[in-house]
Every structure is written in C-alpha cells, then in structure tokens.
C-alpha cells in the first residue's frame, strides 16, 4: 500500500510537471492497521512503548483534563507504572484541541499528518470538518477515526480515553494541532512505582 502511493505520486508528478506528495510517511492517528505497516510510528496497539488502550474494568482512577487555548490544566501528570486511567477531556477553549499520550518522538512523527489534515480542511481552527475528512478518505484512502491514545475534542465538548500505562517510558501528553505543540501545548507524564 505504501509502495502504491509512492508510485501513484510519481505518476502524478510526471503528468503534471509538478512535484507531488510523497505519501509514504502518511498515516493518520487512528488507522486500524498494525504499527509496522503504518510506517513504524508505533501508533499501533499492544506492546507499544507508550502503553495501550485499557479496559473500563481495570480503571483505578479518573483524571479530568481541561483544555484551553492553548494549554492544559493540569500542566503535568503523575501516574503509577502499569496503571489504567480514565481521562475525561473537556475542551474549554475556542479552538479544536487534542489530548494525546505518546513519546516526544511519536508526537513529532504525528505532526506532519496533522498538518496535512489542516491543509485539506479537515481540521478547521474550531472544528473537525467531517465532510472534508470523508473527501480525503475517498481521494487518498485515509481519514479520521478514533485512536486509543488520543482524543480530538471540539470546543465545548468532552471526550474520553482509557489508557493503560507501561512500566518505563518517557511520555508526554500533547496537542498535535499544527502550531499547538510548538507553542507549548504539552506536558510531561511522570511514571512512578
């Protein structure tokens, strides 16, 4: 599939005299495909270094996260190793925000995808444009859907994720809406025994 896109991009480039899209690095947050096939971003489930989606039955704690423009409250989290936490994430700002749990490197790898979605009109400043998302899905075979480690929340709305943390990891929670992470919309997750 990866190869397909590159070939297609190359054909397009040749046909239009324009340089086009290298799609190889392109995967969206929530593709239901294994991490290995998604370009090694490690956004898949299971053994990932950043933990895994948890079961409601295992939840030992609920943490409320408030998202503002462009910062979180609280600004950092302390979690026990292996703990399963339910995050209730409320967007109290005017703009679209994300709450995503990953390593710094994973957030960085995720950024170009979010930029692409913004440029395709899928991510508007204050909402998700689902029509544009469908269009993008149709034209490129990629779209939006929910991912275990992140939740995208429109202003005034609330989302939820349940996450089981790993034993050892340097994790951050972050908003990967273009510009937001760079402006400091991220905080450390401290794992303790």
């Amino acid at each position: 599939m990866k190869v397909d896109y590159v070939a297609k991009a190359a054909r397009l480039a040749a046909a239009t005299t324009l340089s086009v899209i290298a799609l190889s690095a392109f995967t969206l947050t929530a593709l239901p495909i294994p991490a290995q096939a998604a370009g090694g971003h490690g956004t898949g489930h299971g053994n990932a270094a950043h933990g895994a989606p948890g079961n409601a039955a295992d939840v030992t704690r609920t943490i409320e996260i408030k998202m503002f423009d462009n910062y979180y409250e609280p600004e950092e989290l302390s979690i026990k190793e292996g703990e399963t936490v339910r995050f209730i994430v409320t967007n109290a700002g005017e703009f679209l925000h994300e709450f995503s749990i990953a390593t710094a490197a994973m957030h960085k790898a995720h950024a170009p995808e979010m930029m692409m979605m913004m440029e395709h009109g899928v991510l508007e400043p204050d909402r998700v444009n689902w029509a544009a998302a469908e269009q993008m899905q149709a034209s490129m075979g990629h779209g939006m859907h929910k991912e275990g480690n992140s939740v995208l929340v429109e202003p005034g709305k609330t989302g939820e994720i349940i996450w089981t943390f790993p034993q050892h990891a340097e994790l951050e929670f972050a908003c990967n809406i273009p510009g937001h992470y760079d402006a400091g919309m991220t905080g450390p997750i401290r794992l303790s025994h």
């Binding site: 340089s19 086009v20 899209i21 423009d69 692409m116 395709h120 544009a132 760079d182 400091g184």
Partner: protein
C-alpha cells in the same frame, strides 16, 4: 512568564531594564534622553539614546497598570517619545505638533496613561531623525491572564540599521541625489548581459520603462551602507542569548530600523510565530519570516541540542545582515550563512502585472473570492488540470524545487503570486499573495521550507466584532524617486488636508502602492486590521506593509478621539511627505486625568 524565570533571565544579563524591578510596584518610570556613543563594531558615532545608552532600556509594564513616565530631555534640541503600538489618550502619544508640543531641552515631561493591552512593542523619538540616530527602546507588557503559549525564558531581539551618517545628513544627501546610497547600480556590463539574454530591443525597452519610473531594479533599499544591530550589537559583537537544551525560548523580535526590512531565520530551528504586533495569532510554525520596519513578531523556538545557533537577519535588499547567537554557554558561535544574491525588482513590482490579467489579479488577492478558486480547475498548457489535486502537506516533498516556480497558464499569465495554501485542495509551495505576481521581492525560505506570509496571520482573539466597514478611503502611496519626494495621493504632508474620521465608524483603507518601494504604513492610536481573507480572524496590527504593485486593505474601528499621525514608517519617506494627520471627530470627552502635564526642570 513567572517571576522566577524572569529573575533568571535578568541575572543572565540579557540587557533587561534596570527599571524592571520598579515595574510591578510603583508604576513610575524615568527616562533621560541623552547624547550617547554608538559602537557597532564597524564604526563609532555620536547618537541619541535613553538612560545613557542606545538602545534604551526594556520597559516592562503590566496590563492594567497606570504608568507614569518622567522623560527628561538632556539634549540641546527638542525631543519626544512615541509609544509605538500602544493604545492611549492622544495627548500621550508623543508626536510633536499633533499630540503635544514636544519636550524642550532641559524640560521634563510626565506621561501618564493606562496600559490596556499586552505584548511586545517599542518606543522611539518622533522628532526629526533622532530615531535613526539611536533614540529607541523596547516595551514588554505582561498580560493579565495566561498566555496561549508556554516558554521557559525570553529575550527581546531588537533590530536596527545604524548608519555612520546622521539622519539629517542622510536626508540632505538623498534630496540631492536619490541614489546617493545605492551601491547596487546597474552597470553597462549588466546591460550587455541583458542584451544577451533578452535581445537588444527588449533590453532597451526594459531600460526605458525603468527610466520612466525614475527607478532602477536595484531600488530595494534606498539607504545602504549601514550596520545592522541586534540589541545594539553589530555582527562582530555577536549578541548572545543563553538557553538550556530542550527549553522553549520566546524571542520578541522588534524592527526599529529607520529603513530596513529583514528576513530572519535561525538555521537548524523552526520558529513558531505566536504574536504579530503585540497581538496573539494562531500559532504558525515557519522556517523564516520577513519583518517590516516598525513591526514586532514573537516566536517560540526550542533548541534541543547542546550547540550554538545563529540568529540571522538579512536585509531585504541583501546589502547587509544582523547576526546574533543562541547558545548554551557564552562565547559559542555557529556558522554564519552567506548573504543570498540580491533580488532585482521586476516589471511586476512596477505595477505592470495589474494590467490585462483579468481574474488573475493576485495583487488584490485579499479581496478574491476564494471559494471560486478552490472549485475551479486550472488547466495547464499541456492540458493537465490542477483542480482536484491534493498537494497538501506532503511529507517528503521537495519544496525547494517548486518554491520559485512560476506556472505559466495557457493565456500566458502567470500564477506566481497565488497563495495556494489558502485553497485547500490546491496547496502547493505557497507564493505570497501580498506580493505582485512575478515580484522580485517575493520571499522564499533559504532552506526551501515555510516562509511566513501575512496570509498566515489569524487573530487568536479578535479585538472587535467583525462587521461591514461603514466606508472606504483610498490612499495611493505615491512618490517621485528623482526628487526623493514621497506622498499620499500625490500630495505631500505639508500641503495636505487632514483625514477626518467619525468616532464609531469602521473605515476600510485601501492602500494602492504606485511606487516601487515597500511602505510600512503605521496608523497611531487605533488598530489596523489587515484584510487577509480570514474574516473575523483578520490579524490586528499596527503596521501594514504594502509591497510594490499591490493593493492591500485594512480596516480600523474608529474608537479613539483626538488627532493622530498616520505615515510610512521609513524615516526618510515619512519626513519627505508620506504622512497624514488623522482627526477623529466626536466621541466621549477625554478624561481630565489623561491630559498631558509638564513641569519645568
């Protein structure tokens, strides 16, 4: 920024105001206007400064504070201080003959006004050429609430263009010979090269067209031979800001130059623009940006490696550069890039591109109906269409090969001026709609990446409700280069009637740049909302840069009674006549407390 960070920044010797400690307590500040020595590392000159130095101190205010600023004039001539970008009663605005009489030698004038905003601003003399001679400083206003971004430390990065000649002498020389300071004149050799390239007829026609404009393709900086400074330090003196790897550093860029635009980059670092002219914008991450004279941009960078990074600011005409360093320790430096080749103005910058392109007049882009653009498919000469293509972010795409590409359409028109980023599905490497299509001045990033455009600026929190303007005022930016005379609608300041506005109206200003120079237009006292197609999120600024051959619209909510200055912020253009007085009629009476007071001294 919290107090401890501030204390740390101060102890690191960042050139912060010695007054800063007083800021939070009393709200009383003292400035003296002094003759000073300016040492650029390349030359020394006598200039003007504040509290014994140029640049003056960084004034740190709190939003909501009532400030009292005592300014003592130690010069043998009259002076003034204008608080650039601050919203205040007009009598406190510091423009001689418009706000007040100025400050006579030996006199102390006391400014009193409330601080009703936050962000990065600056102050400077509005008398004669004292500002080009060094009379400027920075203003940092801490907001009441939390900012929509986070950083570990901050620096003011104030740029200027120190010239070995005094402002008065420069103006005399320009009047005598407008190309006095243009070291980039085209030669007979250039002409022969052109003949080679375009043939004799075309080369002659080209020269004739330029001759009729009384301009040259190299007329990008009519003042050359200066040394750009960062916080008062020349390239060899290397202003340095310290960081610890992984920290977010806020850089408050201020262009306090008399005449010089800069293209700023920090090789190895992305910059996230979070403020323009003191107002928060939706954060946009770029590789490079252009700062017009008198603008400010706040960016956040995050150097993660234990090494030095060069802050590199090339003049728009590529005649000089400012250079500083971000480093983990003092004394470190990184490679200094070469100046890129100097740009040449094109016929597009002459305004020629406006003619005959029908719907392709991208100079007026902010006005364009973009919905029609995105739906339409553009047929290329080879019959392929560009309509449904998705050129979005395209990780891995080589922008450098596309960046300067001009796409010639079947009818011979070009698309260089199009902002593809605004068109959703048509995003290619974006050309900037705030330059004439084919303009020699349109910038591109040195690394092939993202160069900030006005089109990228979107207000984080609009200051005003978005509404239809009540009327439009056209201001043609005009000039006669041969006489070094600059004007608005062909009329110089001394011959012009004031522009009269009514309190409560929303005026749409239409700037039509009929000259070949870029003009940073600055309205005092009220905000300038650039129409960049973002509707209610149009950015709120105090300087609007208008490129040659373009038309730019800005809107102003007329909410400040009194009389104000409105001018091109290039010092020698303003002085020679590209200047207006604006009178706001009606509105609430000024509170007595806001009236100017003066005490002998």
């Amino acid at each position: 920024m919290n107090l401890s960070t501030f204390a740390r920044a101060a102890t690191l010797g960042l050139g912060l105001a010695s007054l800063a400690a007083a800021a939070a307590q009393a709200g009383t500040y003292t400035l003296t206007v002094d003759q000073v020595t300016i040492d650029t590392g390349e030359f020394k000159k006598t200039g003007i400064g504040y509290n014994g130095a140029s640049p003056g101190p960084v004034l740190r205010f709190q939003e909501g504070e009532d400030v009292v600023i005592n300014v003592t004039n130690n010069l043998s001539e009259s002076t003034s201080i204008h608080w650039h970008g601050l919203i205040l009663p007009y009598q406190q605005d510091g423009v001689p003959k418009i706000s007040y009489d100025g400050i006579a030698p030996g006199e102390t004038f006391t400014y009193r006004f409330p601080i009703v905003q936050s962000g990065t601003y600056w102050f400077h003399s509005h008398s004669g050429f004292q500002e080009p001679d060094g009379a400027y400083g920075a203003i940092v206003i801490e907001p009441k609430g939390r900012e929509p971004f986070k950083y570990d430390r901050e620096y003011v990065v104030q740029l200027t263009d120190a010239h070995p000649h005094s402002g008065n002498r420069i103006m005399r020389n320009l009047k005598m010979s407008p190309d006095y300071y243009n070291r980039k004149q085209r030669t007979f050799g250039d002409f022969l090269t052109d003949v080679d390239k375009m043939g004799l007829d075309q080369a002659l026609a080209d020269r004739k067209a330029w001759g009729e404009m009384r301009m040259m393709p190299t007329d990008i900086e009519d003042l050359q031979g200066y040394t750009p400074l960062i916080n008062g330090k020349g390239p060899s003196q290397n202003w340095t800001g310290l960081f610890e790897p992984g920290e977010r550093v806020r850089l408050r860029f201020i262009n306090s130059s008399a005449m010089t635009y800069f293209d700023i980059r920090i090789p190895g670092l992305k910059m996230t623009v979070v403020q323009a002219d003191g107002n928060n914008v939706l954060p946009v991450t770029v590789d490079e940006f252009r700062i017009a004279v008198a603008e400010t941009y706040d960016v956040i960078v995050r150097p993660e490696e234990d090494k030095a990074y060069t802050v590199f600011a090339e003049s728009m005409g590529r005649t000089a550069f400012a250079r500083g360093t971000l480093a983990p320790r003092e004394g470190m430096e990184a490679e200094i890039p070469e100046l890129r080749p100097d740009p040449l103005l094109t016929m597009a910058d002459m305004g020629m591109a406006h003619e005959g392109h029908g719907g392709m007049n991208h100079g007026a882009m902010p006005d364009m109906d973009q919905s029609q653009m995105s739906a339409g498919s553009h047929t290329m000469p080879d019959g392929t269409t560009m309509g449904g293509m998705n050129h979005g972010a395209m990780p891995g795409m080589d922008h450098s090969q596309m960046g300067s590409g001009t796409h010639t359409m079947a009818d011979g028109s070009t698309m260089a001026g199009m902002d593809h980023s605004a068109h959703g599905g048509m995003a290619m490497a974006a050309a900037d709609p705030f330059y004439a299509p084919g303009s020699g001045l349109a910038p591109s990033a040195a690394n092939g990446g993202k160069f900030l455009s006005y089109a990228d600026l979107k207000a984080q929190k609009p200051l005003y409700e978005h509404r239809e303007a009540t009327r439009e005022i056209e201001l043609r930016l005009t000039g006669n280069m041969e006489r070094y005379s600059w004007s608005i609608n062909g009329i110089k300041y001394k011959d012009a009637e004031p522009i009269r506005l009514q309190y409560g109206e929303r005026v749409r200003f239409k700037f039509v740049n009929e000259t070949m120079m870029t003009h940073p237009m600055h309205l005092h006292g009220m905000w300038s909302i650039i129409d960049n197609g973002s509707g209610k999120r149009n950015p709120v600024k105090h300087v609007v840069s208008v490129s040659p051959g373009t038309t730019v619209y800005m809107e102003t909510e007329v909410d400040a009674p009194g009389q104000w200055a409105f001018h091109c912020h290039l010092s020698y253009h303003a002085d020679s006549g590209m200047f207006r007085k604006v009178i706001v009629e009606g509105g609430p009476k000024q509170a007595k407390a806001g009236l100017p007071q003066s005490t002998g001294g």
